[in-house]
Symmetry: C2
Subunit: 234 residues, 2 copies
DNA sequence: CCAAAAGTGTTTTCTCTACACCCATGT
DNA sequence: ACATGGGTGTAGAGAAAACACTTTTGG
């Protein structure tokens, strides 16, 4: 049936992944960047990307790129935007769909990371990126800020068990401002989505901080009943 | 330089436009649909679409499609989402980027509309659409609801001069629920973005309703100073 | 004079914000 | 005993929600 459309041109189509991680110790959001391994722009910093194959959907392509790089599957990922300027890639006309992904920084094996030429980069120290990748990152950051306000996606950036201090640090890193401790706790706990664990995190303080766990099931149930997650705080 | 990427496949790339209009008299949101004029799915209902050319960006392609259909340029348009399932189009593997546009229904010349086989369709009476176009419409509707809450894009659907009743009807049509008249007026007027005109609309009532005009300049200035549009009402 | 649509304020409720001290524990 | 980070409650301000009557005028 291809002949139906044969008078129309075809285009290269890529996917690029903006991969965020959260460094609990440094309380910083990080971005996974790679040294580009092919021309043009070989050796320069870029997002993880790849061309869409004939036998895979866009989403599948993005998952493949992400999985190849990290060895992880089942990650949180979402389509962000499609960049279609003619000359955005000097190698050829390539349309690129950007996806953003959230992963627990601890989940990514450092060996795999290194062998793929990937590095976690602080948001405050992002180097020059190829093509329009910086625009993609900026858009992803804006999107992330909006998302974590009204969807419980921040938990994707933390381990299963986390403390309220860590969760707050995460939100502060994303919002890029301080938030009030008491108001933050009041709001998140009042949603009844967190389950206090029996044990404490004891690395960072003598007193220790209680671990909590996000209850996905409860969230889904509440959502069915018209509940909306909300974590916009002062 | 094309040889750099020559081992990768190319794909057809289309744009599809979800075009919204607001019928002031019927107080209804409408969708501009066309009878598809080529195979496959000839004669069926679809969104306005077209293939992306080699010498135009995605945005340009969407503008071209919209302009060809309506004879209008400078319309509000925004990229929505890119649909990349392999078999979404039975004619061939086509990746499609959806755009949504807002136009004043009165701005579209009925002659031009008819000659392009386009029809305004009530949201409550959308026929079966080809491929995944219905999914596109649903996504666009959700996006529209979110947009009008925090950006003054609703005005794109009204004439230059409009009444508060019309504006409220528009919001009710988008939100699909009633809103409180007094609270709505209080909120929109308190933003100081509307300019009361000297004249009244006298078609729909004996008393007549004052015309207002949205002050784009003022909005831009306020925005620079950290102002945020907000029209979430009960 | 009446039907039909436009226009107008106040009170209550709730949510958001600001803010400071005690607790537990390892050294 | 003290330094360090974790944990807790309340009062005041502001925003959102609920609510009903008066005005205008053409027919």
């Amino acid at each position: 049936m291809n002949h139906l459309y044969s008078k129309y041109p075809k285009h290269f189509h890529a996917v690029d992944c903006i991969i965020f991680g959260f460094d609990i110790a440094e309380k910083e959001l990080k971005l996974l960047l790679i040294k580009r391994s092919f021309e043009p722009a070989l050796g320069e910093w870029s997002l993880a990307g790849g061309f869409v194959r004939e036998d895979e959907s866009l989403d599948d392509a993005a998952c493949r790129v992400l999985c190849t790089l990290t060895g992880l599957s089942e990650l949180y990922m979402e389509q962000l935007y499609t960049y279609g300027e003619i000359s955005r890639d000097p190698g050829a006309r390539v349309i690129s769909t950007a996806y953003f992904a959230l992963i627990g920084i601890h989940e990514l094996d450092p060996e795999i990371r290194k062998s793929n030429g990937a590095y976690w980069c602080s948001l405050s120290e992002i180097p020059d990126l190829i093509f329009d990748h910086r625009k993609m990152v900026d858009r992803a950051l804006k999107e992330l800020v909006e998302k974590v306000k009204v969807y419980p996606v921040g938990f994707e950036l933390l381990p299963e068990k986390f403390t309220l201090v860590q969760l707050q640090n995460l939100y502060e890193a994303i919002y890029q401002r301080q938030v009030d401790k008491r108001n933050f706790r009041k709001k998140i706990l009042s949603m009844n989505l967190l389950e206090k664990q029996e044990d404490k995190e004891r690395e960072t303080s003598k007193k220790g901080a209680w671990y909590y766990r996000f209850n996905e099931e409860k969230y889904k149930e509440l959502t069915r009943n018209g509940f909306f997650f909300n974590l916009v705080v002062s």
